[in-house]
């Protein structure tokens, strides 16, 4: 780095550039946080206070945003009257169910795909990734017809299966890249020592466990945040949080407090999970194309 110091450009514009970048970061941070902040604060306001707004152009009155008596009534209302306990359970069951199926089957497939060569492997991979990339609505059309005749509409197994259509190809694809980075030499050495294939596989488990866990969480996140599948295939018996929240928007009477509270209930667990797997997030969200 010493050489860098010597050739560093000393331009009079430097302080200006620094000030501009700090300004940019400040504005962008505010812009990112504000909607989430409004959601949190509004979920604690009662109905009338949530509607308070200063007159147009009256900048001095912005403070009325904070002028409210915090209440937990909306959260109570969600779980006591609006049945959100059930929806929370459905969300959890559907997300965990499909994530578990996808990661267990997916890691088995990914491991073998990373260890064995055969003809048509490329085509197989293309099929897998295009399944994942397919537009949700386009998948939904035939799936709806099939599930209708199979009686799977409005059931948790139906929803789990629907989520597996995007989670399983994701798990296979991303875990294949993950297993590719585990040296085959470890298994080879174990097998030379007399281990069977299953025992050799067990040898690399500790190496891959954190990644597999992280991608399991990412599968949970994808399924939890889904709205389209849940609103069509889950409608009726297996309503999850996102469609339930959306249904609070009624033409006559929009219950904003409850909607914001439901938004908080849906968002907070995912914020924590996101932080937990921070290291794997970009890899996961870019289908393994970019690593940090």
């Amino acid at each position: 780095m010493a050489s860098l110091d010597i050739v560093e450009n000393r331009s009079p514009l430097r302080p200006l550039g620094r000030a501009l970048s700090i300004l940019f970061l400040a504005v962008f941070t505010l812009w990112t946080v504000l909607p989430i902040f409004v959601m949190f604060v509004s979920s604690f306001k009662d109905l009338l206070q949530a509607f308070q707004l200063p007159a147009v152009g009256d900048w001095g009155a912005i403070g009325i945003f904070f002028d409210f008596d915090p209440t937990l009534a909306h959260y109570y209302n969600l779980f006591a009257n609006l049945n959100f306990g059930t929806y929370l359970f459905n969300s959890l069951a559907a997300a965990l169910g499909s994530a578990a199926i996808s990661v267990v089957l997916g890691s088995m497939a990914a491991y073998s795909l990373s260890r064995v060569e055969f003809r048509g492997k490329k085509d197989l991979f293309f099929w897998i990734i295009s399944t994942r990339m397919a537009p949700v609505v386009a998948v939904l059309v035939p799936l709806y017809a099939i599930f209708r005749s199979a009686g799977l509409i409005g059931t948790l197994p139906g929803l789990i299966l629907a989520y597996t259509t995007f989670n399983l190809p994701f798990a296979i694809w991303i875990l294949k890249g993950f297993f590719d980075n585990v040296p085959y030499a470890i298994e080879e050495a174990a097998m030379v020592d007399g281990a069977s294939r299953v025992q050799a596989l067990r040898e690399i488990m500790p190496l891959v466990a954190p990644g597999v866990g992280a991608f399991l969480i990412l599968c949970v996140l994808f399924a939890w945040n889904d709205y389209l599948f849940a609103s069509i295939i889950g409608s009726g018996g297996a309503k999850t949080l996102p469609p339930a929240t959306r249904e609070l928007v009624q033409p006559q009477n929009i219950q904003w407090g409850s909607i914001m509270a439901a938004g908080v209930v849906t968002t907070v667990p995912m914020l924590f999970l996101g932080l937990l797997i921070r290291r794997y997030l970009v890899t996961g969200l870019t289908m393994g194309a970019v690593r940090e």
Partner: protein, 312 residues
């Protein structure tokens, strides 16, 4: 199990060489592939059946074969053609804003003192369900009690229009929600690319007397190119995949100004329940996605891109 200070994997030495057996691997991948075929290939064939029929939803009513009628109808369907147009317009808007802002954000963020903290904050919108994001913004845009509506009016740009109610602002409003949620992802991808810009090239360039601007255009940008391309393709495909926020914000209105094709497909299939026509539209959508997917997979295999990966 430990013996003499070593961990014991197997009790006996290898009796036969397990290496030539490939069957083990095929058995291991079979369950996943069979399940995937059942939930992706089978529906795909079903889709082909549907798009060639007029699908009846009533029980015991037989579907009627109509051949390619569903497709020829689409050629005269203004909303269908318009849907593609709006989809590309919408994606183009999103892409320009997200890549532009994301690039600046990554450059400013790179080596900033607060990089870790800020990146953590910027991750938050991405973790949110798109419907919830849509609902929050719906609230902020609201004409009577929305804070962003008030803000825009107070600044004096909006006049008396309602943001989501007028065709000229609705499109931008929908784009902005996508920009809010996904610009940080682009920034993170670019940031990962920036960390991999070869320092020696930068230094050499600076020794030759290049300033930061020159550095950016002749060293950084060429190195970032594959990352930008991946970011654009991924976001482009996601614009096809997700319509949650649009459904909540405008439902495709006003006057169909935000009715991108997947939204129209949703209406045809699940509002009017014309599953045959929906099948035909879905097929065209899938076709375009598959072409895009081919480009994307090429990117994954591009040797230039592999060179940029860290030595794991």
């Amino acid at each position: 199990m430990m013996r003499d200070g070593f961990r014991v994997i197997a009790d006996e030495p290898a009796k036969r060489n397990p290496l030539p057996s490939r069957r083990f691997y095929f058995w291991l991948m079979a369950p996943a592939l069979i399940l995937l075929a059942a939930i992706s290939l089978y529906p795909f064939f079903w889709l082909i059946y549907m798009m060639l029929h007029e699908v009846q939803l009533a029980p015991n009513a037989p579907d009627t074969w109509v051949g390619l009628k569903n497709f020829t109808q689409l050629l005269n369907d203004k909303k269908f053609l318009n849907g593609w147009l709006i989809l590309f317009k919408y994606s183009a808007f999103c892409m320009v804003l997200e890549v532009g802002i994301g690039l600046i954000l990554a450059l400013v963020l790179n080596n900033s003192r607060w990089e870790t903290v800020l990146v953590t904050i910027f991750l938050m919108p991405m973790m949110m369900a798109p419907v919830i994001a849509g609902l929050v913004w719906y609230y902020l845009y609201n004409g009577t009690f929305g804070w962003y509506h008030w803000l825009l009016q107070s600044v004096g740009i909006l006049g008396n229009r309602s943001i989501l109610g007028s065709p000229d602002t609705a499109m931008l409003a929908v784009v902005i929600v996508d920009v809010w949620q996904w610009t940080p992802l682009i920034a993170l991808i670019v940031l990962a690319g920036l960390k991999r810009v070869p320092q020696d090239q930068l230094e050499a360039n600076m020794v030759d007397g290049a300033g930061p601007v020159r550095n950016f255009f002749s060293i950084m940008l060429p190195n970032l190119y594959p990352f930008l391309l991946i970011a654009i393709l991924l976001r482009f495909m996601d614009n096809f995949r997700f319509i949650d926020a649009i459904l909540v914000l405008t439902g495709g209105g006003p006057a169909d100004s935000t009715k991108i094709l997947p939204t129209y497909l949703f209406d045809v299939s699940f509002k009017y329940f014309e599953l045959g026509r929906g099948g035909a539209i879905a097929f065209t959508l899938l076709l375009v996605t598959i072409v895009l997917g081919m480009v994307l997979v090429r990117m994954f295999e591009d040797p230039a891109q592999k060179m940029n990966r860290p030595e794991d």
